[in-house]
């Protein structure tokens, strides 16, 4: 068997394990990153499973660009702007404080570690992970402001942590450190990174507009994050911020630049890409136990575990303390104080406790250089990596599993009604616009009058449904909406069985069935019953 074949085979097995574990996670109602990491850990113990050492380059170059780009793409810019200060405080202020505190703790508890190495460890474990936060929170009902702050934070904090990390590594390798240079480089790196991202976003938009409609456009959106990443790396700017800025920029313009078909395609393809990348990355984190075990000096496992747990506690305590402090800090500005109420304590606790570390921490730890400038091996390299691994596991498992009970205990729920309100408003406006346009178009001679009135009737019924006064009793309308969905589903099921029957009797070909099936599927998605599988055919009445 060739090497390529073996590699493909390994990859397929990994994917199969990942799919199995995600399916299991859905059954057990556990956030999937946790089960994947634990599954990876378990796999690492099975003899015969080839050891898959994660290359930091691979993580940075292959996995992170699309993951960050997509996370930015799904961020609401309006909310991001409104919470800019809260996000900035966490993504920059808290990262800095965590780095310092963890550095101090590490210097105290790990005998003989240099300040530079200790601070390096601090920078490595300072940023919580974007994917883990989203994955865990999506299953729990949490108010939108909490999600906005957490997602916004995790988009930006990787960038600031990486700047601190590079400064600490430089200090460790060369022995020189300058506070001014670090602060200055942070500003430059961030600004250039954002500019690169915007430029790539603008280019993407331009190219998409001038391309013929089709999946070339979808492929281009997949290419864009990599271009942003590589370009920013070349310019020594923040590749993280380039991807984030590009994703946000493209989101703002994707609505008008492409056709519906392309948007649906892009969504399907991106969903799959992100699902696969996230899944693989977490299972790979778990699998790292295999190669990492071998770097451990015999007898030191207890030490590493203790250090890791102490540092996890330090990082968690800092974050919990920072939340009320930071919330008051921003309110020193009077204008801000008048515009924004103090967020409720429950929100602060929730944000404070949601701090799972993930792949960025592991990749930066693994990316530590092997030797110093003078050629001697980097001291404490193995310990830093292992402690990071422990911190990732501890935060993922402990916090990840306790978030749902915590949200329930705090009495948090997703729904403040504003979201549904806005949705209704959007639907109403859309239907209204359609009717207005219809009235204009109907005067043109190519439109048969019967057709115009038929289409108009459809939109008028919808307009009635979405009118603010139409909803009298919320419980009644929810029931009604449910019944409506069920009815539609029943009708669609009947349609599909009729078509399959025609095909099975040989009256229509598979090609025709495929075309029509697509119509039915799109309609089912449109009616909000796209996730339902087809039941058995109903008995004839």
């Amino acid at each position: 068997m060739s090497e390529t074949f073996a590699r493909v085979e390994l990859f397929v097995m990994l994917l199969t394990a990942m799919l199995g574990l995600t399916a299991l996670a859905r059954r057990l109602l556990i956030p999937y990153p946790i089960l994947l990491v634990l599954g990876g850990l378990a796999l690492a113990f099975i003899p015969g499973v080839p050891s898959l050492a994660l290359e930091p380059d691979l993580v940075f170059v292959v996995f992170l660009p699309p993951i960050l780009w997509a996370a930015a793409y799904f961020t609401s810019l309006r909310e991001f702007r409104r919470n800019l200060r809260a996000i900035g405080l966490l993504a920059i202020g808290l990262v800095l404080i965590t780095t310092l505190v963890v550095g101090w703790v590490a210097h105290t508890i790990i005998p003989g570690i240099s300040w530079a190495a200790a601070l390096c460890l601090g920078a490595i474990v300072s940023p919580p992970d974007a994917v883990a936060a989203t994955a865990v929170l999506s299953r729990i009902g949490v108010p939108r402001p909490v999600i906005t702050v957490l997602e916004g934070e995790s988009l930006v904090n990787d960038a600031s942590a990486l700047v601190l990390y590079r400064a600490a590594v430089a200090a460790m390798v060369s022995g020189a450190f300058s506070l001014g240079a670090t602060a200055g480089s942070f500003v430059v790196v961030a600004a250039v990174g954002v500019l690169v991202g915007l430029a790539v976003g603008w280019l993407t938009r331009w190219a998409v507009r001038h391309m013929p409609e089709g999946f070339g456009q979808v492929a281009l959106t997949l290419l864009a994050p990599y271009v942003a990443w590589v370009a920013a790396e070349r310019l020594h700017a923040s590749a993280v911020l380039a991807c984030v800025a590009g994703g946000i920029y493209v989101r703002q313009h994707f609505s008008v630049e492409v056709s519906p078909l392309v948007r649906i395609q892009a969504r399907s393809v991106w969903d799959l890409v992100i699902f696969l990348l996230n899944g693989i990355i977490f299972i790979l984190i778990g699998l790292q136990l295999g190669p990492l075990r071998r770097t451990l000096a015999p007898g030191s496992i207890g030490n590493v575990l203790t250090w890791g747990i102490l540092i996890t506690i330090a990082a968690t305590v800092v974050r919990m303390l920072w939340m009320p402090l930071g919330a008051r800090l921003v309110r020193l500005d009077r204008g801000y104080r008048e515009r924004n109420p103090l967020p409720p304590a429950r929100h602060l606790i929730m944000v404070g406790w949601t701090a799972m570390r993930g792949v960025v921490s592991l990749a930066t730890a693994l990316a530590l250089p092997l030797v110093l400038a003078d050629g001697t091996p980097l001291p404490y390299r193995a310990e830093i990596i292992l402690v990071t691994f422990v911190v990732i596991l501890a935060t993922l498992v402990v916090q990840g599993l306790t978030l749902a009970p915590l949200a329930r205990w705090l009495g948090l729920s997703a729904d403040d009604g504003s979201f549904q309100q806005e949705q209704r408003l959007a639907r109403e406006h859309a239907a209204q616009a359609a009717i207005e346009r219809l009235d204009q178009v109907s005067r043109e001679e190519w439109v048969p009058p019967s057709l115009a009135s038929q289409v108009r009737g459809h939109y008028e019924r919808r307009l009635q449904r979405f009118h603010p006064d139409a909803v009298l009793d919320p419980s009644c309308s929810a029931e009604q909406a449910d019944a409506q969905r069920r009815l539609r589903h029943e009708a669609l099921v009947a349609e599909r069985h009729a078509l399959v029957g025609l095909r099975n009797r040989g009256e229509i070909s598979d090609d025709v069935l495929h075309d029509l099936e697509r119509e039915l599927d799109v309609e089912a998605l449109r009616q909000g019953v796209g996730h339902l599988t087809l039941g058995p055919p109903a008995a004839p009445a």
Partner: protein, 534 residues
């Protein structure tokens, strides 16, 4: 293995090339594989371009499984069954005859070539390419039965060509050949491969019922291609047939199980995947030239011009002669076939001319070993590679470019059977949903107002479908297009209204995304562009 950064840069570069050439090709009235190959060939002369490694393992294990699986998944099973006899005659009979004829010609024109090497060359160039056939056939309006026949042939002939190829390579490397062994291999390969494919399909079908998550199910279809391929390889059976059988079986079950979201997403994902993979394959095919030039025997192309042209001519002529030969032969010998209708002459000519070779040919040629078991170097490997490449280019460019004029000249066109069946299917579906609504209304405690609302919706569509009954399909299509164009005006108006709300900050990005998706789906529901595209 090179470092990820440089591999990524290479992939990004190639993907950009594929996208540029691919979008360019879609504007030209030429099948896109031709444009991609020629573009890749042109790019290969640009100095300083990184070399793209297109090893046979890369083709066989990474590119081929999804491409074949998708071709099988897309194919029309009913038509395949109906054309089983002609497909088998092309996929097995023609492959054997082409291999023998090419081997004979090569033996005549290349002095000193061994019979086993000549047979290797014959097997390598004997099978037509699935992608090229689909790309050409679907773009040009020809009867669907003929499309199904060409696609079915190209799905299956790779398997028989690879069996012959393996037998010939074994003979050359070990010096032994046995016809019984080759026949036994063929039967084992075919039966084993198909069994593996069907088994994997059923297994995954079972797994997909457990997950229910639409994205996971989409991922499962991508995995299916590779799993069936790998298992097929592992049991030593035909991986090609395993992949094809898996695709065909999953298509059948996919229809009924699984949610709408899964199906829509699967269609979108695969469309992109196939586009990108095919793009890569054909661009890499063109880019391969400089590396092949190394294999050129002393004296350059001119030294092998005669065998090269002779083999190309043989490949084309044998195929052209095979179809009428088989058809008239079978009619003369078997009375039951004589009773059936005779396929039109135009069909035979067209099918005979649709013989583009592609990636399997190249991969097999590149995989020809250069040394025997005893360690002595085997001559003529370079000749085999170069001649195979020439056959690919000649068939792709010469035949691919002349197919459209040929179709026009023969006066072939889509027979409208698809459009008629589509109307029938639409009406049947609508009748079923109205009947189901009536049953619900009678059976139970549902809100009568709701039932009426839904009934009104379906009745309106039913009336429309009935009004088109018996109407010329072209007129019916035009009427649908008119309706759709009005819809698209409205959809544009809706989208602008929602975007304005969002610009004003009244609704958030998430709401915009949700509302937009609803509007997009509404547009797709009335999307007439897809009608008749197949």
């Amino acid at each position: 293995m090179r470092d990820p950064q440089s591999v990524l840069q290479l992939v990004v570069l190639l993907l950009s090339l594929v996208l540029t050439l691919g979008t360019f090709a879609r504007r030209l009235p030429v099948p896109y594989p031709i444009v991609l190959v020629l573009g890749g060939l042109a790019m290969s002369f640009v100095p300083g371009l990184p070399e793209a490694p297109l090893g046979p393992e890369l083709i066989f294990t990474i590119f081929l499984p999804p491409v074949l699986w998708a071709a099988a998944f897309e194919s029309d099973l009913r038509q395949l069954r109906r054309s089983a006899m002609p497909i088998a005659s092309l996929a097995v009979g023609l492959v054997v005859v082409t291999t023998i004829a090419v081997a004979w010609v090569a033996h005549l024109t290349l002095p000193g070539i061994s019979w086993s090497s000549a047979f290797i060359l014959g097997a390598v160039v004997s099978s037509t390419d699935a992608v090229a056939a689909t790309a050409v056939a679907r773009r040009l309006g020809i009867p669907r039965k003929l499309i199904a026949q060409l696609e079915g042939e190209s799905l299956l002939n790779d398997a028989s060509a690879l069996v012959l190829y393996t037998a010939a390579v074994t003979a050359r490397v070990t010096g032994e050949f046995s016809i019984q062994a080759a026949l036994g291999d063929f039967v084992y390969d075919a039966v084993g491969g198909i069994t593996v494919g069907i088994a994997v399909a059923y297994l995954l079908h079972f797994v997909s019922r457990l997950t229910r998550d639409s994205v996971a199910n989409v991922a499962l279809t991508v995995l299916a291609a590779y799993i069936s391929w790998i298992v097929g390889e592992k049991v030593g059976a035909s991986a090609v047939l395993a992949c094809v059988a898996c695709g065909l079986t999953m298509r059948r079950h996919f229809l009924i199980s699984g949610s709408s979201a899964t199906r829509v997403q699967t269609a979108e994902v695969w469309e992109l995947l196939v586009f990108v993979l095919n793009g890569f394959i054909f661009v890499l095919l063109g880019l391969e030239w400089p590396r092949l030039a190394v294999d050129l025997p002393p004296g350059g192309v001119r030294a092998i011009a005669l065998p090269l042209m002779a083999v190309c001519a043989t490949v084309i002529l044998v195929r052209l002669a095979w179809l009428p030969g088989m058809t008239y032969g079978a009619r003369a010998l078997v009375p039951s076939i004589r009773k059936g209708p005779q396929p039109p002459r135009g069909w035979m000519l067209l099918a005979g001319w649709t013989g583009m070779r592609g990636i399997v040919t190249l991969a097999a040629a590149l995989a020809v070993p250069s040394v025997s078991v005893t360690g002595e170097s085997l001559p003529y490997r370079g000749h085999i590679v170069i001649i195979s490449f020439a056959v690919i280019l000649v068939t792709l460019v010469l035949q691919g470019l002349t197919l459209a004029p040929l179709i026009r000249w023969l006066g072939l066109k889509d027979d409208g059977e698809g459009a008629r069946e589509l109307l029938l299917a639409r009406r049947t579906a609508l009748d079923a949903s109205v009947a189901r609504l009536d049953a619900i209304k009678q059976s139970g405690p549902s809100d009568p107002q709701l039932v009426e609302m839904n009934r009104a919706f379906y009745s309106a569509r039913q009336e429309r479908a009935q009004s088109l009954d018996g109407v010329d399909p072209a007129v019916a299509h035009a009427s649908r297009v008119a309706l759709a164009s009005q819809r698209s005006e409205l959809i544009e108006a809706q989208r602008q209204a929602v975007i304005a709300l969002w610009r004003a900050g009244t609704i958030t990005d998430q709401t915009l995304a949700d509302a937009e998706r609803e509007i997009d789906l509404e547009d797709l529901m009335f999307d007439a562009r897809r009608d008749g595209s197949k």
